[in-house]
Structures are given as structure tokens and as C-alpha cells.
Symmetry: C3
Subunit: 310 residues, 3 copies
């Protein structure tokens, strides 16, 4: 990577992305080879918002590299309650750690914080902003299951909110992909994201209100959660959500090698009966967070002198 | 052990139990010998209910074996709040860890969860269900202090609720023990537990309303907490609880080598003046959680390829 | 140190303090030399009150020595909620760890708890009582920046509450220092602290209501936060607090080599424009918590047989 911090996947070129995914694949194939690679290094965890899988996955990644973590804990138990600024908090905690992971509810928080610290900082989600390590594990999962070139992908559900979708869509423009966005009209991709995608490549982007027509052509279907709180009443929610749920009957029209992904947690978007099929890649996707974050941490720590032999 | 998961002490034969206790004793006698034994292994902690000593004791055990933990944190900060099922949560987290420890408020949760994962899962308490690692440390403490055969044990306090007592009582039927249950009538052992004990052996089981008659014959007195919320009013609680409290005066009728145990935390059940006597084994009992859980983790991880030389 | 527990900086002689600071400097200069020194040792963290930097700093220190921690977690998730006494809690947890760190809202808690345990216990703050490891890192920072002898120090802000100031002021009486206390009348040092300081040395202690007169003579200015809740209304608070804020204009009267310290978190006491000046030592001060706590842990653990070569 050309930068010392990882703030957005937009900062990564196709070559950068491929280097990260290659390193993740290498690590995944032989974890023992890196089991002590960053022994003695500490990763500072600053989660200003709750998170299970992102936080555990970073912690696991760091420990699988032989390192350890120091965790700020919840905001309720921290100095933030006493009115401390984010800039002060990160400047204190960088004294404890060799790299920092930051999740924060405010868009732009990671970029701002990174300007105050000398150790590498990884953005683990900044409000409606970016979540680049999620994008990397999504890309890794797509590459493992369907390849990243000559790919036809459907992204379905709540496309309006959710940095995960925006970030993934943008990153895919580095590759030869056809992107289909499937959602109710009220949850379409924001126009500025569409504009952004068109800027980035010869537009291979289409929008749909139903899955039906496009399903047979898909290599990958990426499903996201439609949240009840986006709708004025419960009936309206249930009517809409019901139209974007995947079960075995719907999959009859899909290709045999369709890969189904979901950033999890899911509620009703994918029926449990899909879990045992060859289509289901969402648990594998969650697990891929570990080798992908190991690769990212390894690249950043090694560059900053934390690695054993570089 | 014949199984890959530890869900209930009922799944363990006398030989299984003795193998676990022997391994715990071996570890306790020479902790240095296992200090690196599971280096690089990670234990996933999933505590859906608060716990201090069980959680810390598992964490200590794993770290004393050279391993480390990844902790889901409190339910409030997890995806559970977003409506994720337990089955999904454990399937995600098994991707991070080499074994899982689960505490959950619902009876049967550990059994159900274990059916979704490939790594060993240890039940750390499932509602009114089971808590097998507590039982193992209780048995270990009894064996160290009084031996498990030709044993006369009194179990006193709230016998109606509390998996600890039911699980211990059942496990003791594997050995030549006489069990005396001492409680107010309203907090007696449930009839189905009594029935279950009678099924398991030539019944050596008696119930009492007061300690007085049986105290002189006891090798071990296992005291549990009587909780105020079990009673309609505070006066009634205080009257009943007062009759099941242990102090030096009461112990005048006890054997010199009586061992007093308690799963802790205690409130008023055992007077502090007992702490410094030879009878008190409850802090030792809490500390025994470490070698016993080290033994259990070692047995399960070694079986699953995590051990250095097996 | 002459004691197995660290409860107050008052228990430390000038020679003790210098030994700790020397060890911290030695560690700071060559962290790699101690990176495995306490491998296999566990530090028990018992924080009955929230804390970010003290807790993370202890955790970092222990891990930088090759050791690890076991954390009781928040009081809400612990047995304390079930009515367990502090004496019982520490007696259980000492079975898990090789040393304990305790923060508790009640003054005297650390002293009391230390009487129940055999492993070393470090006081990380007991209400309005003591916080000796904070004092040691303050002294370390002063020594590194200005030296501890022939020192003129100003301590400013809320001097009435806050163990940090009282503890530091007392510790400084071991050295040849002139102490100036600057605060509004309502937040002056308690008379008993003044009395105590006078007892400890030939009084080199003065009180001031404004910084102006004394600023030019200071080697070190130690600023503390004036908390809004100490004042009857917001206007009164803002008026008073405004008089004790440091910015570049005020510093025109200061010596070029003035060192500014603050225990953090700060709110408005020190303007951000100071951060990039040579005066600012408060982030360095926070970071010094690591080598100083490493030194303290090393001294206590080595004495108790936890060290590799002593």
C-alpha cells in the first residue's frame, strides 16, 4: 500500500487490492508460517460503536499473527464521557500500541484521527463513510468463489444506507464486473453513488426493482438486511422485506454455481434452508475476515518496522 | 471423553471423570509443564449472561496453557441485539477460535449450539440446565479434601433452583457416596431430580429440614445461597435464611475434618469467622476452577489436533 | 520497595522512588530486553470504576513484559451485583493471577483488600485516597523534562478534589522543590494537605489565586481540570474556568523551557495551539505510564518469584 493508514478502499489501486488478497490467500494456506510473525506487537482497539464480528475478527487476526490487543472498552467506561476529543484519545492510545483500529459513528472520523497519530490506523467503519476491511473480505470471498473478472454480481436489499454496499460497489469498478442493484425504489442506491460508479469506469451498472429477471445471469448475489426502522409502519416493512427474501424456491431459477453472500447478521433475508446448500458463502465470508485482516495488519506493521524479516 | 463437546456432566462416565480429575491434579502439580502447550490456540468466549468467576477462570486456564481468548463481550454490544440467532452467532465465531465456551440463559442452548459447530464447545451454564465444569471443580475439591468414595456429604440451602446442586448430586452417583439434602421445605430438591438420583444408583439419598441431626456424620458440607427473591417478603426470607447459616458455634457439633464448600459468591450463609479455619475450602474450590478447566481444555483441544504432542 | 503491595506513594522513600524511576528509564531505553521477562505471568485487573488510560496503560505494561491480563470486567457484569464483599472478590481472583491491580470508588479499599491476598496488589486509585502509579509517572515526566531537584513547579486548577494533585505534592517533598499552588479560593488545597506538606519538609509551599506573578519562575506547570459540577451554576463555572486556561498569549511570560503537564483528559484547560509547542509534555506524560508501570510490575513480580533471573 502506498499509505500508512487504511481509511477507505478508494485509496487502493487494483494492484494494491490484488496484493492484499494474494497475501491473505498465502496466509490462509499456511497460518503456521505467520503464527509468531508479530509477536510483541500490540493493536489498539478503539470502538466508539458496538461491534461483534469486526472487533473479534481484528482481535483474532492480531493474535493469529502472534500479537496481542489493548482495548479501549465501551464509550461508557472511557474518558470520552469526560468530554475528551477524539484527537486527544487517539494521541494517548497511540502511546500504548503499534497500530490502531478505529470504529466511530461519525463519517470522516478515521481520516481526521489518522492525522494525529504516527502509528498506522485502520478504519473499521466511520458512520455512513467507509469500511475498507469489510470490502477487502468481500472481494476476497468473491475472488475465491467466482473470480473478480468477467463477473456478474447482483447486490440486493437496502442499497440506500449502508457503507458496506457503497464501498464494495466502488471497489468492484477496479475489475471487469457487471453490477446489478436490486431494491425497492425507496431504498435505491443514492444518486451520487451511481454517479461515482459511472465516473469510475465504463458503466456496467443496472438497477432493478425485482430479482426475477436478472437472477439467472448472476455469478454472485450479495444480500443485505432491510431494516424495519427505515419504514413508516410495520405492515409496509413486511410487505417490502418479503419481496427480497431468498429461499430454495426462488433459487430454482439461479445458476447451479451461484454464490450467495451476506455481511451478517441476517434476520429473515435468507432462509435457513439455504445454509446447507453449495450456494451459501456467508459464513465463509465472515471467516475470511481473519486472513484478510491478518494480511492488512501484516502489511501495515511490517512497513512500520514491526515485522520480523522486512 | 467420548464426545467432542462438553454439555453436561451426565455424558461423563466414572472413568471419564477420573481421567479429568487426574489430569487436573497432574497440571496443578506442575503448571510449568503445560505453560506453552496450547500456544497459538484461541478460545472463543460467548457469555450471554454476566459471569465473573466462570469467565475469568476459563480465561485464566486458557492463558496458563499458553493460549489466548477472543471474547464476544456483553450481549448489549453484540449482533444479538440486531436479531441474530444463536445458531448464526456460533457459526460466525467458530471461524475465529479453536474451541468455544458458551453461557446462555436458556436451558438447552449449549446442546443446540454444539450441533452447528465443528470446534469443541464447552457449556458454561445454560439456564436451569447444566454447568459441567463447575461440577468437575466441585468433585476435584471434594476428592482433594475428603475423597470421593465412602463419602458422606451434606448439600444445604436452595436446592430447588440452581443447576450447580443438581449437576453435582447427579455426578456423585458415580461414586460410593451418601448424600444428605438440607433445606426448608419450600426449597427442596425438585421431585424429578430425586427420582433421577434414585434411578442412577442404590439410593443413598436423604432429605432433612435442619442440619443439626446430620452434621456430626458429614465429611463435606456444601452450602449454597438462599436468594431473597425466592420469598414473598423480606421477613420470611430472613427467618428462613437465618436457619441455614454456618458459624463457629454451629460447627462445635461437626467433625474436626469437616470440609465446607460453597460455589460463591456468598452473602451471609457462611460467617467470615469460618474463613480462617481448617474447615473452609471455598476459596480453594474457586481456585480449583483453573487446573480443572485447564485439564478440560487440554483434553478437548488435544483431541482436536491443538495439542503439541498428541 | 520494602513492601509487597503498592498502596500509596507515601510508603516510598526517596531511594525507593529513584529506584523505580531508574528502572523505568532503563526499560524505556531498551524495551526489547524485557519483552519476554514475565512471559506466563497474569495480572488481574479489578476496576470497580471506569478508567481508560490507567487500565489500558497497565494492560499494555503487562503485555510489553511478555505477560497477560485477566479482567474482572465492569461491576455490572460481576458477582459484586450479587452482594459479594470486596474481600471475597479479591480472594477469589488472586487464585487466577500473579498480581492484582485494583481501582475502587471507596477510599481505603486498596489497603483493606491487600490484607486479604498473598499476591502483590497495586492501588490504581481508591476514591479520594491515593493513586501512586499516576504519581510515579508524573515524577518520571518531571525528572525527564526538568529534573527533580532545584525544581520550581506550579500546580494549577482544582486542587481541592483530586487525589492526583495531593499525591504528587506529597511525593515532591522528597526532593528539593518549590511548590506553588494556583487555584480559585473555592478550590484551594485542603488545609490538611497543606499541613501534611509542611510536616514533611521545610515548607517550600506557596498558594496563589492567579498564575500571572509566578509563571515566569516556573520550570513545570501542572494543569488539572476544573469540573463544572463543582460550581453552583454554569456562568460561575465559565468565569472561573476561563481564568485558569493556558494559551499561547499567556505563555509569552513563561520561560522558554517551561514544561506543561496535565493528567488528562483535558477539556478546555489547555488550548490545542499549545500541543505542537516544545512546552507540551502531557501526551508524553500519558505515554510514560507504560514504562513506569512496567518498572513497578517488574519490581513486584520479580520480588515474588515471577521474574526470569532474580
Amino acid at each position: 500500500m502506498r499509505h500508512d493508514h487504511l481509511i477507505t478502499s478508494k485509496q487502493l489501486s487494483r494492484a494494491d487490492i490484488e496484493a492484499i488478497l494474494d497475501r491473505a490467500a498465502e496466509i490462509d494456506a499456511d497460518r503456521a508460517a505467520v503464527a509468531d510473525r508479530h509477536a510483541g506487537s500490540l493493536l489498539g482497539l478503539l470502538f466508539f460503536e458496538p461491534s461483534t464480528r469486526t472487533k473479534m475478527s481484528f482481535e483474532t487476526a492480531m493474535k493469529r499473527l502472534g500479537g496481542d490487543v489493548v482495548d479501549m472498552g465501551s464509550v461508557e467506561s472511557s474518558s470520552v464521557k469526560k468530554g475528551e476529543t477524539l484527537a486527544d484519545t487517539v494521541r494517548v492510545i497511540e502511546g500504548y500500541a503499534d497500530a490502531l483500529v478505529l470504529r466511530h459513528p461519525k463519517q470522516g472520523a478515521a481520516k481526521m484521527a489518522s492525522e494525529y497519530v504516527d502509528v498506522p490506523l485502520l478504519n473499521a467503519g466511520d458512520g455512513a463513510g467507509h469500511h475498507p476491511t469489510q470490502t477487502m473480505l468481500d472481494l476476497y470471498t468473491i475472488r475465491e468463489n467466482a473470480g473478480l473478472d468477467d463477473l456478474t454480481i447482483g447486490i440486493m436489499g437496502d442499497l440506500k444506507y449502508g457503507r458496506t454496499v457503497h464501498s464494495l460497489a466502488h471497489a468492484l469498478t477496479n475489475f471487469d464486473t457487471r453490477q446489478h442493484f436490486i431494491s425497492p425504489e425507496s431504498l435505491q442506491l443514492p444518486r451520487e453513488v451511481i454517479y461515482d460508479l459511472h465516473q469510475a469506469q465504463d458503466a456496467q451498472v443496472r438497477e432493478h426493482e425485482t430479482l426475477e429477471d436478472i437472477l439467472p445471469s448472476l455469478d454472485v448475489l450479495y444480500v443485505t438486511r432491510i431494516q424495519q426502522e427505515r419504514f413508516p409502519d410495520k405492515d409496509e416493512y413486511q410487505k417490502v422485506a418479503g419481496e427480497y427474501q431468498i429461499d430454495k424456491r426462488i433459487l430454482e431459477a439461479a445458476r447451479d454455481d451461484l454464490t450467495i453472500m451476506h455481511p451478517l447478521p441476517r434476520v429473515d433475508e435468507i432462509a435457513p434452508e439455504i445454509d446447507e446448500t453449495e450456494h451459501a458463502a456467508y459464513f465463509e465470508q465472515a471467516h475470511n475476515g481473519v486472513p484478510v485482516r491478518m494480511a492488512l495488519l501484516d502489511l501495515l506493521l511490517s512497513k512500520n518496522g514491526g515485522g520480523a524479516d522486512e
